[in-house]
Every structure is written in structure tokens, then in C-alpha cells.
Amino acid sequence: MNLTLKIWRQKDAKSQGKIVEYPISGIEGDMSFLEMLDVLNEELINKGDEPVVFDHDCREGICGACSLQINGEPHGPDRLVTTCQLHMRMFNDGDTIFIEPFRAKAFPVVKDLMVDRSAFDRIQHAGGYVSVNTSGNTIDANAIPINKEDADDAFNAATCIGCGACVAACKNASAMLFTSAKVSQYALLPQGKVEATERVLAMVNQMDEEGFGNCTNTGACEIECPKGISLENIARMNREYLKASLKG
């Protein structure tokens, strides 16, 4: 497969970036998108050029490190996969592929395709935890009965890997899906009830402070989320937030 890659190159956070075109050949359909970029980087290194910087880690869709806006969609045209799981068979010989970093004011570009997603970490630090007293008489979590539907919904919310595709897909660069998943995974469980009020207020406040946009319910985040996190979580967070605001 022969392709033309149009890749965002940016020297560092302060430099002005631009799209640079790279022709590439010999790409197999069974390669992952990141393997294709590895091939490109080897070529660039052999020519003495700077390789393209991009985030990656586990390469099996569970770590949330890989990102990339591919042809205008986060993680590319496939559904429920991360960029590392995206196969080149999704593209055709002769295609031009735009590869850009996830764009948001709250996700500043570090270099090329790598962005700083520590805003997500700060949202989690603001309230994405439960306090467990370890005084010696802590109840085993498995001994607390939990409604099956709630357990399933909490688990589904907890599958969010924090990759940032929701922000990248949203026309407003809103982080509501991520934040709502992190709020929901605790809000649904008895262990999370204790700090429910403070949690949602602190996490939403941090989300706003980071400069993410407002949710306008386009649903793009849910479609592009590699883990299929549902918009129901956003509705739940809205309810939790209103309840907490009226209480606090």
C-alpha cells in the first residue's frame, strides 16, 4: 500500500507547527497504525531527519497513551479501538492521511503529535478517589451487596482509559465524558457515596479551570470513545452536580 501522510510537525511547545507531507510505501494491511509510523520513523532516522514524536505504550488498547487525530477523527475511522489497535486495512492504496495531535487548549502540544494530557490527571486528583479507613475493621468490599445494574454501570464507566479522544472529538473540546465517567464509577457504588458531594463539585470545578469547553450534547465523544463510554454518564454527572450544588 502506498500512502501520503500529512503530519503535524512542531519542534516544541512554543514553536509554530505545520503540516508536513511524507510519502510512504510498502505498508501492509495487517500493520497497526503505530507500526506504520514506526516504519516512517525508521526511514526518517536513516535519512538523518528527526523522527515524528507520538505517544504510545502498551499497544494493546488498555493504557490510554496513544492518541492521534487521524483524518479528522480521534483514533481514526474505526470504532471502539485506540490508534494502536487501528489496522492499516482501514485505508486504501493511494490514500492521503492527515495525522494531527489531539487539539484542545487544555492539551498543549509538547512536540509533533505528543500532547500534555496532565489536565486529566489533575481532574482525577481533585476527587477521583475514595477514602478507605484501614483501622483494622475495614469491611471487605466483596461483602457489600451492590445492585448488578449499578455494578455493571460503574464497571463500564471505570473502563475509561483517559486517552482524551472525547475532548479531541468534541467540537467544543469538552472533557465532560471523561469527567463524568470518573464521577460515575464512584457515584454508583456505596463506597463512593461518602465523598459524593465534594467529589463532583471538585472534579467539575477542576475541569472548568483547565479550560475545557462546554458540552453541547453532540454525542461525538460517545461515538469516538475507544471504550464506548456512554453519554448516560454525563447526565448522571449533571444530576450529581446539581444535587451537590444545592446541598453545598
Partner: protein, 219 residues
């Protein structure tokens, strides 16, 4: 409570609630307009009631005007904030792959509706206020139907109204159903609620279009 006013969720809920209020107003407005096709007397009676009832005039009307202004001012504020949240645009952005045109262009459908409101106020609301509160003209309970017909004589004005109602349908198609999600309503009844909202988004604007076209072509 202190953080509520400036929080993104509070703004979203305020947008949804003001939108829902305007949806109720639309239904009421449509119901009265629709009677004009069948009975000039009924239309005159209802219009006379709405135009002279003190609760409608001095309580509901100011609330409505506040609701309209709040909704579009908040819409502009949110649009500006949202644009600012992505300073560098994508070279290629495939918005159609994951969201409807209506949901991505609420600001544009809203702007058309706002322009229409300008025309509509110029056509009906301003002359009505001048008639009642500036000229203090004697109340004539039978004048409303004639004024309505007069406005729909012009094919250009009728055409502008029809185009505006198409944009109203596009705006409602996303906005009405979306307001449920904003206020935290997403459960087993959501599918039915969304279907109702989508049906409303078509039926009411199409109804307004029918009224405009019937009045234009039959008189």
C-alpha cells in the same frame, strides 16, 4: 452554591431550561396561529385574550422576553467559550462522522431564528405595543385576523417565514431532545422522550409553515 453560577454544568442546565420554556411558548403560539386557518373568530378571541389579559401582558410577556434574550445571549457566551477551548483548529476535521449537522451548527440555526425574531417583532410585536401603549388606540377585538392576513400578503415575507421555520426545525431537532440530557434525564424513558422531541421538532415548524402558506395562498 457559589460555584454554581459560573460552572459549565450550570450554564448547560440554564440553556436547557430556557430552551424548554421557549418550547412550551412555541406550542402555545402555534396552537393559536393554527386556529386562524379554521376560524377567524376563534383566532380573534384568543389573540384578544392574549393581548389584553394583564397576567399575559405584564407577567408572562416580560418573562418570555427575558427567556428569549437569556437563551441567545447565553448561546453566544457558550459559543465564544467553546471556540476558545480549541485555539488551534484541525487541518482536517470530520465532524460529520460522529455528530449530526444540527448538533454542530446550533449557533447558525440560532442566528437565523434570531434574525427572524427581529422581523417578527417588527411585523407584529412593535406595532402591537405602539397600538396599545403609545397611541392608546381603542381596543378592537376583531382586528387581529386582518392584521395577520395583511402580513402574509407578501410572497417575500411568507418565503422568509417559511425558511425561518425550517431553521427552527433544525434547531429544535437537536435542542429539544438535548435539553433532557442536560438536565440529567437519561434513563429507560429517554428513547421515547427523544422520539417525542424529534416529532415536535418537525410537527410544530411544519405547522407554522402550513399556516403561513395557507394564509398567503387563500387570501
Amino acid at each position: 452554591m457559589s460555584g454554581l453560577i459560573k460552572s459549565s454544568i450550570a450554564r448547560k442546565v440554564a440553556m436547557a431550561l430556557s430552551g424548554l420554556f421557549l418550547v412550551f411558548f412555541l406550542l402555545q403560539h402555534f396552537t393559536i396561529n393554527f386556529t386562524s386557518i379554521f376560524s377567524a373568530d376563534t383566532f380573534n378571541d384568543l389573540s384578544h385574550f392574549m393581548g389584553t389579559n394583564p397576567v399575559v401582558q405584564f407577567v408572562l410577556q416580560p418573562v418570555l422576553i427575558f427567556g428569549v434574550i437569556f437563551h441567545f445571549v447565553m448561546g453566544f457566551v457558550l459559543e465564544l467559550k467553546n471556540k476558545n477551548a480549541r485555539a488551534v483548529k484541525y487541518a482536517k476535521y470530520n465532524g460529520g462522522a460522529n455528530a449530526s449537522w444540527m448538533s454542530r451548527n446550533m449557533i447558525y440555526s440560532g442566528l437565523v431564528i434570531l434574525a427572524f425574531l427581529g422581523l417578527h417583532f417588527y411585523d407584529f410585536w412593535v406595532p402591537e405595543i405602539v397600538y396599545k401603549y403609545v397611541e392608546f388606540a381603542p381596543e378592537d377585538p376583531t382586528r387581529y385576523y386582518g392584521e395577520l392576513l395583511h402580513k402574509f400578503e407578501s410572497p417575500i415575507r411568507t418565503g422568509l417565514y417559511v425558511i425561518s421555520f425550517v431553521f427552527l426545525a433544525l434547531h429544535l431537532w437537536h435542542g429539544f431532545a438535548s435539553s433532557f440530557q442536560s438536565v440529567g434525564f437519561n434513563n429507560k424513558y429517554s428513547v421515547a422522550a427523544t422520539k417525542f422531541a424529534k416529532a415536535f421538532a418537525i410537527v410544530i415548524p411544519v405547522g407554522f409553515i402550513i399556516v403561513a402558506l395557507v394564509l398567503h395562498f387563500t387570501h
